[in-house]
Structures are given as structure tokens and as C-alpha cells.
Amino acid sequence: MADNTNSKDVNPFQKQKNKEEMQKQLITFALMIVFTIIAFVVVAAGVMDSMFVIPILLILAVVQVGFQFYYFMHLKDKGHDMPAVMIYGGIWAALLTLAGLGVITWW
């Protein structure tokens, strides 16, 4: 186990692939930052009615989270069928929970 830390010669083809992947990740990150800034600016400017702002904020959040899952967490790659099933199952249960607590709880 001693001499493994210095060897950086991973198969060049694979290395190239990793690099391309990393460039995509960077683009993803840039988009996420842009979305975040849009969300904050929309709220800080306070020009729009909350009827419009809230759906916009939620859509921005969902898209951002999609990026996290599919790019940062590689849900798009193969071998992620079962993780995807479980995450979507979780989202399904989560939506029901939110609907229950948000809509049929009195306030």
C-alpha cells in the first residue's frame, strides 16, 4: 500500500474523459451561481408581485437541484438506475408530505 500515492499515470484515454467531465461540471457550477444570483436579485429588487416571484424562485431552485443531482452527483451516468428510482421515490413521498402539511393543515 506504500507506493500508490505518487503514481499519477492513469490511462490517458480515461484521463481525457475525466477532464471533459470536469469542464462540464464547471459550466454547471457557473449556471448554478447565475441562477442563485437571479433568485436573490428578483427578491432584493422587490419589483414583482409575490404571485409571480414564488413560482420563479421554486423553478430556479428545482433546476439548480437538478444540476446538482445529474451533474455533480452523476445521476445521469449509467449504473445509477436504482439511485434514480430511490431519489424519485423519495421526491414522490416528499411531495405528498409537503402537500399534506401545506394544504390540509389549518393555520
Binding site: M1, I33, F40
Partner: protein, 207 residues
């Protein structure tokens, strides 16, 4: 320990995190755990949404929240998500030192986030008298954001333990899945934060 898991250019698989049966199990099992976490946070969000206006004559969301600090915290956490992606990039390239470096940066960003959160909570308590006990809104706010903060804290402890434990022995097929699973956890925390800044802070400001 007859089977050596150490890595060299010949044995380096394209997905070291899933190369062993144990790694595959960890990978799959952890994803499933995240599915459960989704429901956990949904229940907390639901509670918050149901109670967000139950301020019992105490301060409201709009009065409390300031956007600047939240923006800083968001950028810190989003960036730390990217740095952990870099760490995984170097893991796949079998570059242990660079991986450790990026993980270190992730840790610094994570701690900065935590510091901001602690400052934020103290601010609310001392300036507004807004506590866990002052109203149902207070309870729901601290429970939701606090649970997320607790996850960050646990993640930090986990990351530090991982980095220290493996500092001297480099990457191998035994610890690669551990690093990978941590990065999944870290991204998930970021996902939760995206909804927190949207639903709690931004929507709290909008009303």
C-alpha cells in the same frame, strides 16, 4: 488481509468507488439513504410551511431575515460543492495529494458556512429575542435550519476524520468509496440548502 487493494496505473479502475463489492454496496446503500433523507427534510419543510406565519406576535420572517448574509452563505456552500467535485476528479485520476487539497478547501468553506450560521442565530436571539421557544414559527425555523446545520457539522467531522485517517496511506479500493460517498453527502447538503434559501429566506422576504 490477503487481498491488497492498493492502486497503481495498471489496477486503477475507471470507477474506483464501485470497483469492489463493498464499494458497490456502499454506493448503492448511501444513495438509498439519501432517498430517505429527502423525506426527512420534506417533513421538516412541511412543518415550517405550515407554521411560518404562526409568529405569536413575535418577529416575522420578513422582519428577521437579511439577504446579504444568506447570499454569502449560499455562495460558500455552492462553491464547496464544486470543490468536492474537484476532489472527486482527482480521485478518478488517482491523484491523492490534489484530492486532499481540494477536500481541505471544501472543509474550510464548510466551516465558514457554519460560522456564518452561528453568527446568524446569535444575531436573531440577541437582537430580536427570536428563539426556539418564542413561537411556533421560531421552533419550526430553528428545527429546519438547525437540522441542516447539524448535517453540515456532522459532514465536517466526517470529512476531517476521513482526511486524517487516510493522510498517510493514499488512495486504495478500500477508502475510495468512503471519499466518494462523502462527496455525495456533501452535494445533498447543498441540495437541501438550495431549498432552504429559496423557501425560508427568499420566500420569507417576499411574504
Amino acid at each position: 488481509m490477503s487481498h491488497d487493494h492498493s492502486l497503481n496505473p495498471e489496477t486503477m479502475p475507471s470507477e474506483p468507488e464501485k470497483a469492489t463489492q463493498e464499494g458497490k454496496n456502499k454506493f448503492i446503500g448511501f444513495w438509498f439513504f439519501l432517498g430517505g433523507e429527502t423525506v426527512l427534510f420534506a417533513a421538516l419543510f412541511g412543518t415550517y410551511i405550515a407554521l411560518r406565519n404562526s409568529t405569536a406576535d413575535g418577529p416575522t420572517a420578513n422582519e428577521l431575515f437579511g439577504l446579504e448574509l444568506v447570499f454569502i452563505m449560499t455562495i460558500l456552500l455552492l462553491t464547496s460543492s464544486l470543490t468536492s467535485v474537484y476532489a472527486m476528479y482527482h480521485l478518478k485520476n488517482n491523484d491523492f495529494k490534489k484530492m486532499q487539497l481540494w477536500l481541505g478547501i471544501t472543509a474550510i468553506l464548510g466551516f465558514s458556512f457554519l460560522a456564518c450560521e452561528i453568527y446568524e442565530f446569535t444575531h436573531y436571539i440577541t437582537e430580536f429575542g427570536f428563539t426556539f421557544r418564542s413561537s411556533a414559527f421560531g421552533s419550526a425555523f430553528y428545527a429546519l435550519v438547525g437540522f441542516h446545520g447539524g448535517h453540515v457539522t456532522f459532514g465536517m467531522a466526517w470529512l476531517i476524520a476521513l482526511m486524517l485517517r487516510n493522510a498517510k496511506r493514499g488512495l486504495n479500493l478500500y477508502n475510495a468509496p468512503k471519499f466518494y460517498v462523502f462527496s455525495l453527502y456533501w452535494h445533498f447538503i447543498d441540495v437541501v440548502w438550495v431549498f432552504i434559501f429559496t423557501v425560508v429566506y427568499l420566500m420569507g422576504k417576499v411574504g
